[in-house]
Amino acid sequence: MPRQLTAASLIAGITLRRRLRNRSFLVQAVLGPLLLATIISLAFGATGFDATIGIVDADGSPATAGFARGVTETDLEGLRFELVASPADARSRVADGELDAAVVVPAGFTASLGGDEPRAVEVLAHTDRPIAAEVARSVANDLRARVDAARLGTTAAIAAGGDVPSPDALADIDLPVEVVQRGSGGEVSLAAFFAPAMGLLVLFFSVGTLARDLLGERRTHLLDRVRAAPVHDASLLAGKALAVVVIGVVSLGTIWVATTVGLGARWGDPVGVALVIVGVALAVAGLSGLVAATARTEQQADMLASLFAFTFALIGGNFVGPGNLPPVLERLSLLTPNGWALQGFAELSVGGGSPVDVVPHLVVLVGWAVGAGALGAVLLRRRLGSGT
């Protein structure tokens, strides 16, 4: 092995050995993730997400009846739709917690479609059950989208010289309903989303560890001894970053195994999952190098780590379920490594993708690692060399 590679692996080895010895490795890479998996299991239960959503068809037209029938016939694990007689009944059952949320198609809804202001579909939600509310809102949005499509078609027909349809004709418009999971893979598993999402959040908080390590070693002149040896500064940084990669892989790997075994979460193709985990661990290591090169105190390192973790989590979509990001944030999430990682995980779990499907995600994550790491190496070398 070339000398500098040996040096990097030695530095990674001693860093990991010390972390094992002072148990920080155990906490960061094993116990923390296990605790996180436990919290996730408490949040979503042993069987994951479970909700009953009421559908009220107060309009009663063939179109809305067909829509309601289509929705209630949907069979998804942990998610049930139930026809409810009236809006008042739905309101009362949601308030009692018997229903987690409800979608109300108001009376006269179809008839209002011919006018300028169609009546709104109402979503009844329990404040304690935001995920069920999101599902109900999605159903309502789906109905609105289908109605808009039908209206657009009618308008186009009139513009082309056709007749204005009668209210009866409008009522008969078929609004085909299919509630399906996106992608072609297995069933949606919220644990499979939130487990990596929270794992990534915790992992991004650790990007200050490398900086703290280096700053501590610099203070005690340990860094001088290492740098006085025949070791390039880039090898020093690579060694420290390699330790971060190992911790990241073990950390996410632990969450993967724990949620798969404990919660039955379906992460998707194991090779693909492993690739994304390695990719995101590399990206975190690159960012760690950048933080190490810029932070001048341990407090600064902590602050930068928190900044990265929260900003990336907010933009990247760690706190919201799949597909629930506003369009702007959905685009912005692609600027973050965790956004790409989450999409990669979703591609594998929801989309049933293969390792080939996550190659683009992997390329972006490795790009983050190389870009941030190289910038960190240049800045660190300059800083250490200048003694500032």
Binding site: L10, R17, R21, D233
Partner: protein, 327 residues
């Protein structure tokens, strides 16, 4: 005092055969000049001391020499190889012992030494042998497998030195290794350095303790405010300031006659009479003593006390910089 005047090409005696050769070193931090036109060389087997007060530029100088800091100007060669931050070959020739204990507290001495030895490129068999050897040299063989945080301060310092010796460097660089050390450990460290010097190791030793520099170093460079103000053996440095030895004579009788008699003695530089004492500055105190005693007899004075004081590096530093070494 500035750099050696001859360049590495022309200077076969220095750059070619010297373990360390540097010239014109300069390092600034913003407006502050930390090191300015510093240059010196260390021959094989020589112990060279950089003596100066805290903040004089000693650590900055050795950081440049060891390739830890980039320099704004100047040249450094170690064992004939140019030194840069990524100069692997030049760095391999140096064993650095930083001022603080630069070892992992949560590892044993043996684990620390194995790590730094492998970082220096030692193979497994050589490493095992060398770890045992240096642990024996610094007297830690029996506690080699204990964690460093269980060691006393002095033991940690010895382990710190051991790590610098592991790969048998051509130049051992010690940065104030006795600062904050108890007298017993300090003496043990000084004895170790003396022993290494006797065995022919080249040593660069920085200190602000005059007595350490006098005891250990073949040659001494006096550094102040980033500049090397004088360089040479102890005798050469003392000679540079031309102060000579001082003989204080306490006596009763005709001290004026005694002072006149001393003035006429060969080697006398200056005579000063105060109350019951006469102070005579001479070029060589030991050879002048007999003449002074004879002069006192001729002058008919009764000598009650006589003391010979040779100028030390403290006097040299004071004469060269106008301030005490510990200022």
């Amino acid at each position: 005092m500035t750099s050696p005047e001859r360049g590495p090409e022309a200077n076969g005696d220095d750059a070619g055969t010297a373990v360390l050769w540097c010239q014109g070193l300069r390092k600034t931090y913003g407006e502050r000049v930390a090191v300015d036109d510093v240059g010196f060389s260390i021959a094989r087997g020589e112990t060279y001391g950089l003596l100066g007060p805290n903040g004089a530029g000693k650590t900055t100088t050795i950081s440049i020499v060891c390739g830890l800091l980039t320099r704004d100007a100047g040249e450094v060669t170690v064992a004939g190889r140019p030194m840069r931050p990524d100069a692997v070959a030049a760095k391999a020739a140096i064993g650095l012992v930083p001022q603080d204990v630069a070892l992992y507290d949560d590892l044993s001495a043996r684990e620390n030494l194995r790590f730094f030895g492998r970082l220096q490129g030692l193979g497994r068999a050589t490493l095992d042998r060398r770890v045992d050897e240096v642990l024996t040299i610094v007297g830690l063989a029996d506690r080699a497998d204990e964690r460093l945080d269980s060691y006393s301060g002095g033991m940690k310092r010895r382990a710190n030195i051991a790590a610098g010796l592991l790969h048998q460097p051509e130049l051992l660089v010690l940065d104030e290794p006795t600062v904050g050390v108890d007298p017993q450990s300090r003496n043990a460290i000084l004895e170790s350095v003396e022993a290494l010097g006797r065995e022919g190791m080249s040593v660069l030793y920085t200190t602000h303790y005059m007595e350490e520099a006098e005891r250990l170093c073949d040659r001494i460079g006096i550094i102040d405010e980033g500049r090397l103000v004088a360089e040479g053996t102890r005798q050469e440095l003392v000679a540079q300031i031309g102060a000579g030895d001082r003989i204080d004579v306490s006596a009763t009788g005709d001290l004026a006659a005694f002072a006149r008699a001393c003035t006429d003695l060969p080697g006398t530089l200056e005579v000063d009479r105060r109350d019951g004492d006469v102070t005579i500055r001479v070029s060589d105190g030991r050879t002048a003593l007999a003449g002074i005693v004879a002069a006192s007899e001729r002058a008919g004075v009764t000598v009650t006390g006589i003391e010979l004081t040779q100028p030390d590096l403290e006097d040299v530093f004071l004469a060269l910089t106008g301030k005490a070494l510990r200022d």
